[in-house]
Every structure is written in structure tokens, then in C-alpha cells.
């Protein structure tokens, strides 16, 4: 890059050597917490999750929220 503009791009594979054994030995791991599940989805505006395909959307909570919104069940 020059001045934030692209000059040329080489598309290459990264080398596999990332010093993994050293990194693991030095890890400072966050302590894990148990999380109480939020049982119902009714009281949210929107849902973040893994990117779903169009098929996945049909079964998703977001799809149910959109349907409720379209039906006027959630006030604008």
C-alpha cells in the first residue's frame, strides 16, 4: 500500500509456523462462567448469531421476530 491506496496484491498462503507450542505454554486463559439461558425470545428486538443461509433464516428467531413485526404484533 502507498498512502492508503492499493498498489498490488499477491494472494499467497500463510506459512504454518506460528510458534504454537510457545504460545500455548504462555496462555493466560479467561475463567469461564456459567450463563443462565434467556428462556424466551419474545422480549428482544433482534437476534445476533452465526450467518444463516436463506433456508436457515426460515427456522431462526429473527424470522419469528420479523413475522411478528410484519403482523403488527410489535408496535412501531
Amino acid at each position: 500500500m502507498q498512502d492508503g491506496r492499493l498498489v498490488a496484491v499477491a494472494i499467497v498462503q500463510y506459512p504454518n509456523d506460528d510458534g504454537k507450542s510457545v504460545r500455548i505454554n504462555q496462555r493466560a486463559l479467561p475463567e469461564l462462567q456459567s450463563e443462565a439461558l434467556a428462556a424466551q425470545s419474545a422480549d428482544v428486538d433482534t437476534v445476533s448469531g452465526a450467518t444463516y443461509t436463506s433456508d436457515g433464516y426460515v427456522r431462526s428467531l429473527q424470522s419469528a421476530l420479523d413475522a411478528a413485526r410484519a403482523a403488527g404484533a410489535i408496535a412501531a
Binding site: R5, L6, V12, Y14, P30, Q33, E35, T51, Y52, R59
Partner: protein, 279 residues
Amino acid sequence: MHHVEQVMGMAVSIDVRSPAPCDSALADVLSWLHHVDATFSTYRDDSDVSRFGRGELGVADLSRDVEDVLVRCIELTEQTAGAFDAFAVPAPNGTMLDPSGFVKGWSIERAAVILETAGAANFCINAGGDIAVRGESMPGTSWKVGIRHPAQADKLALVLEVRGSLGVATSATYERGAHIVDPRTGTPTTEVASATVIGPDLGTADAFATAAFVLGLDAIEWIETQPGYHAYLITHDGRTCWSADFPHPAKAPPRFSNRDDHRSLAQSRSPQSSRSPGS
């Protein structure tokens, strides 16, 4: 205004609460999203990105938008120490160029600007699980953003209450299988089940969520070096951890085992043994 558009291989939900934007706003947003699909899709052999990946287009042939995206992807690879890399993982079109992990969030961030320019102030756009929010859901009420539980599709792991201008992106494999490859090793990455990143720019949050998923539990220490961005991880056994300033509604951030061990070890030493030699 509420609309769901199938574009870029996913559903994009556009939910404008107030004020109503000008009449052309929705058409402008949809036109933009379909333009992004045609230009950046790695599922279309005729997109600019596919043609550039095959070497049919050179740098000089690229539009400013494509060039800006590729420049930003290179910056993001540096910011993530290689955990996000648009140039290192095979794309659906068979090339080694796949900026999709940034383009989705970037394009929704731009769609939000179109809505704001058209007069909307309080709205939410959800693009296949990545979300840009603006303002409030109702006067005086925060947006409630659920984060899906990775093992239970009908459950939420957490509900965030947010307002103002914010991006929320989640990276996980439960929808499309083990598709997230560690660009540093070329192998699928599986330490955590779900990684959510929030921050001011959804494009950056989108790429950071992919990086956080790849980094696994190391993502917490890393994201704390990225001002304005915060992470929330869920493991395969349903436990969680999050970075220092993640707006978790209930609890303080977790401590680090090794970090705290080192600290308590230092504190438990007698004054004599903690002195440096020669003191």
C-alpha cells in the same frame, strides 16, 4: 418501516422505528445491497472480486469501493495478527480471495448511512445475524439484542441492551458447519462455539468476530488491545467469558487464570524472597 430482503445469500431485516425516512430510502438501500452482491460475491463468477481473484482484473481496474475494501482487509489482517485474512483461505469461487467476512458488515454499515441520510434515526438492520443499531427502539428504551445460544437454536445466551450507534457481529459454525478456517494454519478452528464482537463499526466488528472465533479463548486478551471493541465467547459446554468492557448486564468480567495466578504468587511471597538479588 419494516422490510426483509433476500440478498447476498441471506435475509436482511430492515426495521426503522422513527422518523420515517424519505420515500426512496428503502429502494436506495436495496439497490445498494444488490450492487454489493453483484460486485463482491464469491459465489458469482462474474463479480469484480471473483474476476480480480482469478487475475482477470488488475488493481487499476478496481472501483474505489473494491479497492477500499481490500485495503481495509489488509489492515484488518495486521490488526488481528493474521487471525482474519481475506487472502489466505479458499473462497467458494476457487480463488484465494474472500473478503466476505468484512464485506457483509461493511455493506450494512453503509446501508445505515443511507437510512440516516434519508432522515431515519432509530433503526436496526440485521444481515444474517450481524446487526447495526442506531438510536433507540422506542423513546427512552434501549434496543434489546439477543445473542443466540450455539447449541439451542430457540434459546438466547444473553440479551444486550444497547443504544446509539453500534455494530454487533457473531461468528459461529452451527448454521453452516465447520466453515471457519484458521488462516494461519489452513485448518478449521473449533475451540469456542460462538464469538460475538461489538463496536462502533460493523465491518470491523464482523472481521473481528471471525478473528475472535479463530483465536478462541485468546480472543479476550487480544480484543482488549482494540479500543472500542469488546468480545463475548461461548464454549461448546455452554460456558462464557467476555472482555473487560463488554456490556454484560449481570456480572463483572471474568478474571484470567494464569494472570491471576502470577499475581497471587507474587503477593504470597515473603518480603525477603520478593526482593531482587543484591537489595
